[in-house]
Structure formats: structure tokens, C-alpha cells
């Protein structure tokens, strides 16, 4: 039909015929009239759809290309051989987490079930995060009804014991620390269809800040950026990760578990928390997971996940606020182990508002991480936070903005006054920030810390990042070296920031840290940070125990306290002790508090807390120039005494009877982990950029449209339609 019509339209003579036909309103002409209208409408609709597509493609074209090959620095191209069923033979993992909170300490038990769905004997290796102050002191392997208790050993020795059991076909489990907030569980010889459960226990001290208690349980690891050049593999034992060991990150392959790319999420977790704090509560809030609450009594609440298991793809955070008038101001918990007394001391200095008179002008350097791992929701959180931070500057302050990914870029070559013009430029700069590329942090930190100017400015560096780097230690050194009069404040961004980096970088930077895990939190959390930045600091803190008591207290030097932060100290004493005197200075006014040690409550886990604090302090001392071998020795000593996993000690459990037949082989599998929520695989591992322009599409659409115009005008169909109405 269509062809016929077109044919007819091709002749001018016929047009007359049509005209006549039209005038006489013959059925054919009416039909034709409608037909043309329909065709035109369809063409227009298609055009609009295509246009939408082009606009959409254009957006992609802005975002998608920002990808990079940061996981590896060089090499040849490989094709991924894996198909969707790639991980079928990999053991399947399920975790049950049980937490008990009392006093200042949280104790958690995590049961990881490794189920082997395949036909082969396998070894499962799972890299998982824990809080950076976690003290892992127990590991048990459950095989059916039998339970084998893990023992603490020096790291290499533990590894040897595990390897031997693995070879002999015995079931064995090994818990190792990769980073203070990253651990590996290995389970050897899981038979076809079998399930082996590895149970670990850890404890941590709660965070108490600005009147709120907080607990963070990390569930995902943002893929770490590994700087440096790959080192030859035969030098080091490699792990199971996607990254090669490099000169800057020697164990890179151990901290980069494979990332699951299939549909949906894996690694389900169940979570149950018993809160028993003894004071009435104003509010209990889980920030990122819906929890069902059941109250038992004053300060006693049981929380469980409201919707059952959740995938391990973002950090869990619980915050609770004591009721008005019940916020603890000081607390002392003591535990007696083998004739020695261990204490946990918490003192919250009284609050003090902003200083009278004009606070000093500030010089603020904002560093924002725009690496690939910040893409998605993280960069949005960071941008908003930074914009809010800019709005808090006063005209006499000075500032600069530094962004970094693979390279570092400064907004201004030097700090500038916070006048309207400069602020507007900064806002524009921040709004345009986009996340892609590597995480070369060192140049950005150096740029921020160097060039410290006049002392009439309070110099503050605010660092917004997810901290997803593998070379933490080198960065801490750098911060310590270049800090000068600056103070460094870390803002952990995203659903799974590197908590170890956040805390330690702030510690070495003599500042404090905060977390933002959702755009909705930006206002509240940044406001809390500003209160700290703008309130006087409690410094020169000193803790003295009454005479005649031998004391070993950690940390050795109490860090400066920002608004709303308590002193938390671990001490070991030879006798029960009498008194503790705490002194400090705040804006040149001395402050002092006395605590009566005989009134301390007895608490569990205080010895472990002390040992963990000591290990942390010892490891830190390496950055201050302490001898590495000596530190190692001391750490091993403390860790073995208190049964703790550390950088130099691991827990290992071995079953006595071999179960794997000698002729059966053992497949080793690294268990994949979820990419943290809101992150984009393409941006982090993402490979190749978008390399087509919509130019030809534009041209094509353009020509089609003009052709259409020509057709319409040539045949003046519409003119005749209107002509008809003239009559």
C-alpha cells in the first residue's frame, strides 16, 4: 500500500487528481490524509526517542570513559576466560555475627560457614574486614559437632602448622591479620558437600564522641589501590588477590580479594546485638541497616536485622545516645589477671563553648579524593561535604582545594582569601569534580602539608577520602614528617571506607576523624566536625597514678582532645591503686580531674584491651624510629600472653585425623567479596573508555529531518489540508 501511495505521489498530474478527490472528500483522500499524519507522528516520535538516546549516550560519554587500569600498572592484554559460572566450585560463605555490648567494650562472635558445593576437596580463603581496633583472641573450628580450639602462634610458625595439616589431608583453619582492619581466614580440606565453620571472637572499645556512643562493624572492603611497580613473583609468596605485590605494597596480593561480578550479592550475614549498658537510653539508631529492637529493661535492648540476612556489602553502624543527665563523664573498669591489675579509664572533660573573643583565623586546605573507588555515591557525598565546608569559611580565613587521583591538582597555586570571588570559583571547581583514576595520595598530602605560612593562622587540613590504598604505612610516615603546625582531619566517605587509615592518619595528623556513609548524613556529621574545628582543643594531657604503684599505661602520650572526645587509657598496675590524676590545658586554662581507683567496676576483657592498646602503640613506635626487630619481639610477647592475633601472630586450629584421601587433590579458592554498595565495578577495575562519538548519529538524524521537510514542502500536503478548510 505504502509503495503505491508513494508512486502516485511522484506525479504532479496525479496531484490534481488528488486535489479533486480531496475536494470531493472521497474516502481515499481522507484515508491518505490520516496516513500521512500518522507517518509524521511516528517519525517525530522515533526522532524524539533517538534524541533521548543521544542525550543519554552523551551522559555516558561523560561518565563511562573515566576508567582506568589501576589494579595493575602494566602488562599485556588478557581476555577474561571466566563465564558466569566462574565461582561455582568456590566454597559458599555465610556469616553469623553476635555482639554483646556492656560498659565501654563490645565483644563479638563471628561464625563463618564455608560450604563446599562441588565434587572436589577444596581450601577456602576469605579476606574480611574487622574494626581497626579489634582484638581477635579466639578462633574455633567446628566440624559437625566437634570443636577444635585455635592456638596462638608466631605468624610463620602458624602458617607452617597449617600448611602441614593441609598437605596431610587434615582439616585446619588459620586466622591471620593482613592489616589491623583486614584479616584472612583459611580453611583446608573441606570435603565435597561438607561445611566447616570457623568461629572467631574479638572485642573492641566503643567510640564515645559528642555525647554519643558508636559501634562500627565493617562488612565490605573497598578495592584497594596498589601503588608502585610490580616485583617479581618468585621473590615473595603471593596471596590470592587480583593485585601483584609491588615495591610499595609488598603483600598487595593478600589484601585484594577477588570481587564478585555476578548477578546479585553474595556472602549473606546475620546480625544480632545485645545492648546492656546500664544507663537509660534516649535513642538507638542503626544508620544503614533496618533493625528490629526489643527492650528488656533499662539500657537493655536486643537488636536483630529487620529483614533477615543482608549481603556483606556495606559497613554496619550503631549509634546510641544516653538519656539526658545519664551520659557518663568518667568510667573505670578493672580486671585482675594473674596478680596484675588491668584498667580501662575513660574521662570526658567538661564541655566548653567557643572561646570568648575572636577565634583565630584559619587556613584550611581541603583534600578531596577523586579516584575511581570514589565514583558513584561516594563522590556525591564528598562533593556535598566539601561544599558545606566551604560555606563555613569566614572572610578572614584562607583556603585551597586539592583533588587527587592518579595526579594531583590544586585549585589555586597558593592559599587564597575566602572572599566571594574565590569561594565561587571553588564551588564551581568542586561541583565539576568527577571520580576516576588511581589513588596516588602521597603527592596530594605533601602538597597540602608543605608551604605552611604565618603562625597567626590555625592551619587545618581536611581530607575527604575512602582511604582505599594499600600503602597506609608509608602515608603515615609522610604525615608525621611533614605535619608541622598543621592538623589533619580525615573524613571517611562511602559505604566501606578504610577505618584503619582514617583513624591512624588523623592520629599522626593530630586531628580527629569522622565518617559519612550517606548523602543525608552530610549536614549533621560535617556540623559535628566543624564544632571540633572551631572549639578549643584540650592539650598537654598528662595522667599520673598515685605514688608507689608501678604503671604501664597506653598510649604513652595522650593525644589532644577535640570537643566532645574522652580520654581513653589502658593501664596495668602492680597493685589495685588509689588515685589517678588527669591534667590538661584548654585555651591556656588548666584542667584537672581525679579518679578514685578503688571505685572501679570490674569488667571483662580489660586485660585484652590493654594488650591490644600496647600492640597498637608498639606498632606505632616503628614510625617514631623504634627498632623493628625489637618491636616485633615485644609484640609477639604480648600477643602470645594474651592470645591475640597481630601483625606477627596468628591463630591456628588443626584436626587430628586426616579426612582427605591421599589420592584426592585439593583445589584452593579465594572467596570473592562484594563490591561495596554504591560503587561501580567499571570505575574501579573498569577497563576501556567509551570510544565512539554520536557525531554520525547526529548527522544522520539531521539529514533525515531535512529530508522530511523537503518531502512535506514539496508535496504541500498540509497546504491542501488547510486549503480544504478555506472553502
Amino acid at each position: 500500500m505504502f509503495r503505491t501511495t508513494r508512486h502516485r505521489l511522484g506525479y504532479r498530474k496525479k496531484r490534481e487528481y488528488f486535489h479533486d478527490g480531496y475536494a470531493s472528500k472521497s474516502g481515499i483522500v481522507v484515508w491518505l490524509q490520516r496516513f500521512v499524519m500518522v507517518v509524521l507522528v511516528i517519525v517525530l516520535m522515533v526522532f524524539l526517542m533517538l534524541l533521548g538516546d543521544v542525550v543519554h549516550a552523551d551522559e555516558n560519554y561523560q561518565q563511562l570513559p573515566q576508567v582506568n587500569l589501576q589494579d595493575v600498572s602494566e602488562g599485556s592484554l588478557l581476555l577474561r576466560t571466566g563465564k558466569p559460572g566462574m565461582y561455582q566450585q568456590v566454597p559458599i560463605l555465610h556469616s553469623d555475627v553476635d555482639m554483646r555490648i556492656s560498659g565501654m567494650i563490645m565483644r563479638a562472635r563471628i561464625k563463618q560457614s564455608f560450604r563446599n558445593p562441588g565434587q572436589e576437596w577444596v581450601e577456602g580463603i576469605y579476606v574480611f574486614p574487622l574494626p581497626d581496633q579489634a582484638a581477635v583472641d579466639h578462633m574455633r573450628m567446628h566440624i559437625g559437632d566437634r570443636v577444635i580450639e585455635g592456638v596462638i602462634k608466631e605468624k610463620q610458625e602458624a602458617k607452617r602448622i597449617y600448611e602441614q595439616a593441609r598437605r596431610e589431608g587434615k582439616k585446619a583453619a588459620l586466622t591471620e591479620q593482613e592489616r589491623p582492619n583486614m584479616f584472612t581466614n583459611s580453611v583446608a580440606n573441606i570435603g565435597p558437600g561438607e561445611t566447616v565453620v570457623v568461629e572467631i571472637e574479638y572485642q573492641q572499645v566503643l567510640r564515645y564522641d559528642q555525647g554519643k556512643f558508636g559501634l562500627r562493624f565493617p562488612m565490605a572492603i573497598t578495592p584497594r589501590y596498589i601503588p608502585g611497580k610490580p616485583v617479581s613473583e618468585n621473590i615473595t609468596v603471593t596471596g590470592t588477590g587480583w593485585a601483584k605485590n609491588t615495591n610499595q605494597v609488598p603483600a598487595a596480593s593478600r589484601i585484594t580479594p577477588p570481587v564478585y561480578q555476578g548477578r546479585g550479592k553474595i556472602n549473606p550475614v546475620s546480625l544480632r546485638i545485645e545492648l546492656d549498658v546500664g544507663y537509660p537510653l534516649l535513642e538507638v539508631k542503626s544508620l544503614y541497616h533496618r533493625m528490629a529492637q526489643r527492650k528488656h529493661g533499662v539500657g537493655q535492648i536486643t537488636l536483630t536485622l529487620a529483614e533477615g540476612d543482608v549481603p556483606a556489602d556495606r559497613d554496619f553502624e550503631l549509634v546510641w545516645t544516653p538519656d539526658v543527665g545519664h551520659a557518663p563523664k568518667a568510667a573505670l573498669f578493672s580486671e585482675k589477671i594473674k596478680g596484675e591489675f588491668y584498667h580501662l579509664l575513660m574521662v570526658l572533660p567538661p564541655e566548653q563553648g567557643a572561646e570568648g573573643g575572636q577565634p583565630m583565623a584559619r587556613e584550611v586546605i581541603y583534600i578531596i579524593d577523586t579516584s575511581g573507588s570514589m565514583s558513584g555515591t561516594s563522590i556525591e557525598q564528598a562533593r556535598r561535604s566539601l561544599l558545606m565546608a566551604l560555606s563555613r569559611l569566614r572572610p578572614r580565613d584562607r583556603f585551597n582545594v586539592i583533588q587527587f587521583n592518579s595526579t594531583t591538582d590544586l585549585l589555586f597555586s597558593q592559599v587564597r582569601e575566602a572572599n566571594q570571588r574565590n569561594l565561587r570559583r571553588a564551588q564551581r571547581y568542586v561541583r565539576d569534580l568527577d571520580a576516576n583514576g588511581g589513588t596516588e595520595m602521597a603527592p596530594a598530602l605533601t602538597a597540602a602539608l608543605k608551604g605552611q605560612g604565618e603562625s597567626q593562622y590555625v592551619r587545618q587540613v581536611i581530607f575527604l577520602t575512602d582511604g582505599s590504598v594499600g600503602n597506609e604505612s608509608a602515608l603515615f610516615d609522610l604525615i608525621k614528617q611533614h605535619l608541622g603546625q598543621s592538623r589533619l582531619f580525615t573524613v571517611g566517605i562511602g559505604s566501606a571506607p578504610n577505618s584503619y587509615f582514617m583513624r591512624k592518619a588523623a592520629q599522626y595528623g593530630r586531628g580527629t576523624f569522622t565518617y559519612i556513609g550517606d548523602v543525608r548524613e552530610v549536614n549533621e556529621k560535617m556540623a559535628a566536625l566543624f564544632t571540633k574545628l572551631e572549639s578549643p582543643v584540650m592539650s598537654d594531657l598528662d595522667v599520673q597514678f598515685s605514688n608507689g604503684v608501678q604503671v604501664e599505661a597506653w598510649p604513652k602520650r595522650v593525644p589532644d582532645l577535640y570537643h566532645g572526645e574522652p580520654i581513653i587509657l589502658a593501664a596495668k598496675t602492680s597493685t589495685a591503686g588509689e588515685k589517678v590524676i588527669i591534667k590538661g590545658m584548654r585555651s591556656l586554662a588548666p584542667w584537672q580531674a581525679t579518679l578514685n581507683m578503688t571505685q572501679g567496676r570490674s569488667g571483662e576483657g580489660i586485660g585484652v584491651f590493654w594488650a591490644r592498646s600496647k600492640i597498637a602503640a608498639l606498632i606505632d613506635s616503628v614510625h617514631e624510629g623504634a627498632d623493628k626487630t625489637k618491636v616485633r619481639e615485644e609484640v609477639i610477647n604480648v600477643a602470645l600472653t594474651h592470645h591475640l592475633v597481630s601483625r606477627y601472630t596468628s591463630l591456628v586450629a588443626v584436626d587430628v585425623t586426616p579426612t582427605r584421601p591421599q589420592n584426592a587433590s585439593l583445589d584452593s579458592h579465594a572467596l570473592p567479596v562484594n563490591l561495596p554498595q554504591g560503587q561501580n565495578y567499571q570505575k574501579i577495575f573498569g577497563q576501556l573508555p567509551q570510544t565512539a562519538t554520536p557525531a554520525e548519529l547526529h548527522l544522520l538524524i539531521g539529514f533525515v529531518l531535512l529530508l522530511l521537510v523537503w518531502l512535506i514542502m514539496h508535496y504541500r500536503l498540509f497546504a491542501r489540508i488547510t486549503g480544504e478548510h478555506d472553502k
Partner: protein
């Protein structure tokens, strides 16, 4: 009647404007690609004279990192730092995460299939590709192979002993709609910079045997 006529005129006008605008958009992309390369020459000169990150225009967020030439195709392009969409509009972009151009490792350079890297389609194994570094060195690469990959399924593996060059563009070449998932990758390896006799016949503008 007048309303109908007005509607007609408006429709025609809208179509003409939309069509012209679309054609303009298409031409703009090509014009930008061509013009930018000219503007980049100046920045490249500065780079050759030792200036770090010589941006071609003050607000640019990229800078020249190398010159890429393919005598057999009469191609000479300035490669830019980074391969974000903004950068690729002006010239082929070097991926930050990959090896520095001209050094050991695998360097990735991406370009648009319909502008700068249209020529990739016509490259043959054995063809020579030259990379001029900012330090004035000329590295010669021999094309080994071309492969078609899914963008999401390709990655780079460590191989620090040799210097490789990977040129990437979208595939298929004829496709009109952008945003496809396939990539065409031409892989080249560094060779001894002995001039290949065959180049004489391929019209290498820079090869003069006399």
C-alpha cells in the same frame, strides 16, 4: 485556517531547526577533533621544550604526553593525558593507570572510532607506529595483532620487561549509535628503530632515503 497554517509553518520550522541543529552537532564534534589537534601543536612544542603539563588552553584539564604517528596511514596525532570523555574529544588519550608512553610496560591509548582513531581499522600486522616522547626520543612499535574484546572483560596483566602499545577504539566501526560494549584493540610491541624499506613505498612523509 490561519491556525492550521501557522501550525504547518511551525512544524516545518521546528523540523528545519532540529535537523540543522543535529547536523551542526555532528559537524561540531568533527570540527572540535580537527581543530584541537592544531591547537595542541603549540602545547606539544612547549612540552618538548621541557614544560610540565603544558595545557593547550588555560582551562584545559589535559596536556600532551606524546606524538603518535603512523606513516602508512599518514597519521600524526598528539596524545593527551587521561582518557576521560572530555579529553577524547580533542585527541587520543593515554590511560593514567597504564605505563608511561615509550617506557616498559603496556601503554593504553584510546581514541574515537569516528574521529582520530578511524584509521585503526586499516592497520595491518607489521605496520610501524612511532611514539615521540616529550624528551625527544622516538620509539618504534610494530603492530602484532588486533583483537575485538568486550570492554568489561578485558584487563591488563603485568609484563614489565617489554614496551607495548595498545591502541583502543570502539567496535564495530560502522555502528552509528555510540555506547557499544565492544572494543577493537591494536597491539604493538617496541622494535629496533631500523627503518623498514617497505615504508618508502607507503609514502612515509618523514622517510627520506636520499
Amino acid at each position: 485556517m490561519n491556525r492550521k497554517r501557522l501550525g504547518y509553518v511551525l512544524l516545518i520550522a521546528a523540523l528545519v531547526i532540529a535537523g540543522t541543529w543535529q547536523i551542526g552537532q555532528g559537524l561540531y564534534i568533527h570540527a572540535k577533533a580537527l581543530l584541537a589537534q592544531e591547537l595542541l601543536e603549540n602545547a606539544w612544542l612547549k612540552t618538548r621544550n621541557g614544560e610540565q603539563r603544558a595545557t593547550p588552553w588555560p582551562w584545559a584539564d589535559t596536556w600532551p604526553v606524546a606524538r603518535l604517528s603512523v606513516p602508512s596511514q599518514n597519521i600524526s596525532l598528539i596524545v593527551l593525558a587521561g582518557d576521560s570523555g572530555r579529553t577524547l574529544a580533542f585527541g587520543p588519550g593515554h590511560n593514567f593507570g597504564s605505563a608511561t608512553l615509550g617506557e616498559n610496560g603496556n601503554s593504553f591509548v584510546s581514541g574515537h572510532r569516528d574521529t582520530h582513531f578511524r584509521f585503526l581499522e586499516y592497520l595491518q600486522p607489521g605496520d610501524r607506529v612511532y611514539v615521540d616522547t616529550p624528551q625527544g626520543q622516538r620509539k618504534v612499535y610494530r603492530i602484532e595483532q588486533a583483537s575485538i574484546v568486550e570492554a568489561g572483560e578485558a584487563w591488563v596483566e603485568s609484563e614489565p620487561q617489554t614496551s607495548r602499545l595498545s591502541l583502543v577504539t570502539c567496535y564495530p566501526f560502522e555502528s552509528i549509535v555510540p555506547g557499544g560494549s565492544q572494543r577493537y584493540i591494536v597491539s604493538a610491541v617496541e622494535v629496533n628503530p631500523q627503518p623498514d624499506q617497505s615504508e618508502l613505498f607507503k609514502g612515509n612523509p618523514e622517510y627520506n632515503p636520499f
